[in-house]
Symmetry: D2
Subunit: 376 residues, 4 copies
């Protein structure tokens, strides 16, 4: 009598903002890829460099999360398909997976008129995460914040994103902050982050203008061209446009964009960055960059770039990448900030290079490290 | 009694196309930098990475060259200043150096009605180069082709660029082909190139659209984004616009542009490259690139870039960089193709990576190698 | 006893290329508007200026046509919806109307291995058109060519577009050539066009780059700014991209684009126009224009425009506009070339101004003329 | 004995901000044109439409003005030539005319620590203007405000621009406000403007982005395309960039830009306008516009424009145009607001159309009216 075939362990992805467009695209997209309906375009971890990294298979991922909204995932997916973010027909084709994830979504907080204090909220969120792991028999779960950007915190209280981050630590879950919100970057969480023994990644996914800047900045520096002014305007529809039109919310995001320039150019050029809310663009964004630089003998030259993309489609595969990488890092026993994941972030953690090429080299090296058999 | 102070050896730069706008900018610019009139913007070899590479000082460079035109350098410089390529006032400030270089220019060939055969032309050119070295007491001279792009050769005879390249080998001069012309890339010269024991660099300087492609291509590949079509249009004034409007002349240049995409993306996307002659632009060029790519789940996105630069100002510092690097390589006893200089070329020699970041890493490593004291 | 309510007469629209993307969008769009599913965006004849022009109602239009392909309209509509050209769900919502039009499509020609001569083809096509009018009890039908652009004719024989145009005249149908193909612009058809007593419009719909040129050209002229070079590149997917990548087919289209500049600027500036076939763009096009102009004292300035549109969506409402306007002109007894419709065309017929503003003024005046009660 | 030949009367142009880059370009440019050194590019009044309008000849114009700075005009012109705004060599060629204008510049105000009250300042300015006319034996003088944009006034006191405007009225000078500052648009000046019997033009010259909007807006409206969002970013160097980076100063300018859209589109689309101070651009500006519009059936399309110009070179010829037109209007006895000059302004006076084409038609008609012999 043969032994029962051992199924690979299943891994959870707990999404903060689980009914938003990024989360919906993550769930629908993972299902579409698993079913072979679409090629894995945009998924870095499906490239050959990661073939031996022992990452959890896409088919082993189980989704759940918190949200304060209540539009069900299948309906949200239909809306995204109508807006051209998801292919027409896809929501119907993966309805079962959307329903399954929908059942794993729990109410977030704080809600309007919230009576629970910070500690109670953290405890509730952590319980939701632990229940998710237990209920689904998961080896582990990674918590990923994909909620709308929150305004920069002003008072001493923890912002919502930090409550969820604290809950992740308490529940023993590796943590990724894909937004510019505070998350784990709060002084009150610093000690906890260290003592948790959990791996965590950077902040604010690099999906468009900053991605470009992280390859163009080094180009100018290597060619000794003097960048005089780097100006940019981002037009965003969707919820993020509205959130970031608030200067307080945009501050963290813009800081990340400028950091890339300062780090790669060695100086901070003139120029501002604008983020405009343009609801007419739906889930699409247009970003214009205007770079005035001096060449030989001070000759003035200009490079302009126009990036037109769909934010959810740019973010979703990176969320899957990060969840897989952190899950495997956790399995390997790695803990603390993971600067090897700087490739994905405007604001990496730890000591990381600013040029995309160097970040990619570190990611490749990390991929090889993850392939090792043993736990260290 | 102290020994007389030893002056550093002087090094020649022999320019094919010595009265063109690139050559004029090279000579005027080197003088301006030496005199401290301008900072060394655009000069890679003046960045800290090359501080210990024992490159010949800019002040030690002596210029001469061949040309078939006879507009004197000082007059050419005035024209460039009127067109905004050189700063107003610069030609007057460096008139002595322009005059000195003018005196070292010899007639090129073949001229209309030429009666000398190939061997006679090569011999005459090589004599000019050797005389230049001897007359000026130079340690060595590097030959750099900055002439207008010539049509792709059709018959068995050597094109002009190859005659000059053969002369360089015969005169014992390291050779750089900054244009898409044939130069040393002719089968008849292959054996000679090897046996000469001289170092030589790639072909066709990377000054604009291809420079951008060499950082954007890797970005798309690393992010697993599927580039569907990469289309481009270059508008060029100046002599190069007219030369490259000829499809035969443009063929080599376009091949270089496409090679970068194929090598960095791993596939050849759809799309064409146009090079238009637009005399109204003078020495300026505008290059538009339109990149249609697929993101997650096949979502269609677009990146566009517009590069507006002055060709001479982009090329001139790289010419100085290459002359210095090859002169030092020659001094160090290095010979044959130098793939370490791929950073500068659309069409590098030898086995070189295609991404600018990797090319820069190899260049940095070359800079360290050049710093070694001994001859090997 | 009251008299039976008189239904307005029905008017036919006979589309050459009836299964192409423009025709499909025309049929599906007219049905969507009639059903109130969408607002009449892009339809000039639904603006207040035409309220009294007694145009046939959209609900009175009946569609049919010729095509050499056999993909049924409902299926073609589904393909367009998948490509984002039609809204998802629209094909299903207007399936009845698509089916009705599908039943009115007849095979075009000449087909591969065609045995009929020109006269036989014209006769067959004219019979199809007359049968369409009779079978549906139409007051009249307008023939509109929306087929793929054909290569410029080289021999003495009539190109296909001219066979259909001749058939329209023979069948007594007003004629519109929305493509750059020859159509009625063939010397053999000149006499027939005059003697037919039918109204006909211009050639080659103005849907993107040329539309822009027709407002920007006058702007430069009125401001006395000297346009030095006007360069353009069009990236087209879809069938038209492939057709126009053939230089012979592109010639007529480019001539129209240049005519607009020459007529509005008073001079022909430097610069070329490229039309690239980029299948990856699907039914979308991107057009870049780069305009180098001199300002006061010769200061060099640049305007660039980037137009990203969906060709079928740009063309379809204009096709409906033209069919309605020519039907009403026919009803009013107007005949011959209608320069009042220059607003719609790269290549208007008759004596028409080149600036869009003046063309619009003439169109408004035409709208008022059409409102008159009597037949003259 | 023959009568002495009658010289045409000379006409004054009194510039507020007489040492700024626009004023310097006006003076140097007029001299260059008069001397035949340059063609009259950008000068609308030198086109055939104005040949019979009896405008004062360029050679009859005499320049003077107020300024609070003291950099002499010839030096300012050298700075502009170094920045590429004036052709190299031009300042030297027209030094005499620059000197002559320099001698006619008087100190403006209020200066720091000003002790004069409003009435005293107005009186002083008016005396300067009258003295200018008398000293030079001028038939009349037109006052043109080309000073840096001032912040929107907050209190009850008259801003500087309105003091100058009041002085112009008192001195009997027609008035043009080429800036977004208040000038004559102050309620305290309304009665005076009417009773003065002087002609005056609009506010805020239309030199770039708004010029484009005034032709693109009508295009969208005429084609029934639904503009959803019109977003723009202006990068300005020079003094105006710094002045307009102040949101208070930018408010009036932005209001003008939006008015053009509202008036030509019939609705106010989404979207913001940013004005960034980018000193690295010198006197140049780059303006990006991103227009998201819906086509047929709601298909989303995008037009983008990039305008790269030199502000002084764009403004200067229009200043000459306006001075000549208002001088002639004054000679003809025309008074009050001149909506016929809307072609030149973001914020025209009186009842004027918003589309450039209609504005041009009114200007042409005005040109004909000015040609009449008699005084009415």
């Amino acid at each position: 009598m043969s032994a029962p075939r051992q199924l690979p362990p299943r891994v959870g992805v707990w999404l903060i903002g689980a009914r938003g467009s990024v989360a919906t695209t993550v769930v629908a997209g993972c299902a579409a890829l698993t079913a072979g309906l679409r090629p894995p375009t945009g998924l870095v971890t499906e490239t050959p460099a990661f073939a031996d990294s022992r990452l959890p298979a896409l088919s082993s991922l189980v989704f759940g999360g918190h949200d304060t909204l209540d539009c069900p995932l299948p309906k949200r997916a239909e809306q995204l398909a109508a807006g051209g973010v998801l292919p027409p027909g896809l929501p119907a084709a993966v309805e079962a997976e959307l329903d399954a994830a929908e059942r794993e979504i729990r109410p977030g907080g704080p809600l309007p008129g919230e009576t629970r204090d910070e500690e109670q909220l953290i405890a509730a969120f952590a319980t939701d995460m632990r229940d998710f792991v237990r209920r689904n028999g998961l080896a582990r779960a990674v918590v990923v914040n994909v909620a709308s950007t929150e305004p920069a915190p002003t008072g001493p209280s923890l912002p919502a994103s930090s409550l969820y981050a604290a809950a992740a630590l308490r529940a023993g879950c590796p943590y990724v902050n894909f937004t510019p919100s505070t998350g784990l970057h709060h002084p009150d969480l610093a000690t906890l982050a260290v003592s948790s023994g959990l791996p965590y990644a950077g902040r604010d996914g690099k999906t468009g203008q900053t991605l470009l800047r992280s390859v163009l900045g080094p180009m100018f520096a290597q060619r000794a061209l003097a960048v005089r002014a780097w100006s940019g305007t981002n037009l965003l529809g969707g919820g993020d446009g509205a959130a970031l039109a608030d200067p307080a919310a945009a501050a963290a995001k813009n800081a990340g964009k400028e950091r890339v320039l300062a780090d790669t150019l060695g100086t901070v050029p003139e120029g501002q960055v604008h983020i405009d809310d343009v609801p007419a663009l739906g889930d699409w964004k247009s970003a214009w960059d205007h770079i005035a630089f001096d060449g030989f003998l001070g000759t003035r030259m200009i490079l302009q770039t126009i990036w037109q993309g769909c934010d959810s489609a740019l973010a979703a595969p990176l969320v899957l990448d990060l969840a897989r990488l952190l899950a495997r890092a956790h399995e390997r026993g790695l803990s603390g900030p993971r600067p090897e994941l700087a490739f994905f972030f405007k604001d990496p953690v730890g000591d990381a290079p600013a040029s995309l090429a160097e970040q990619y080299a570190e990611l490749e090296s990390f991929a090889r490290r993850l392939s090792a058999e043993d736990g260290r």
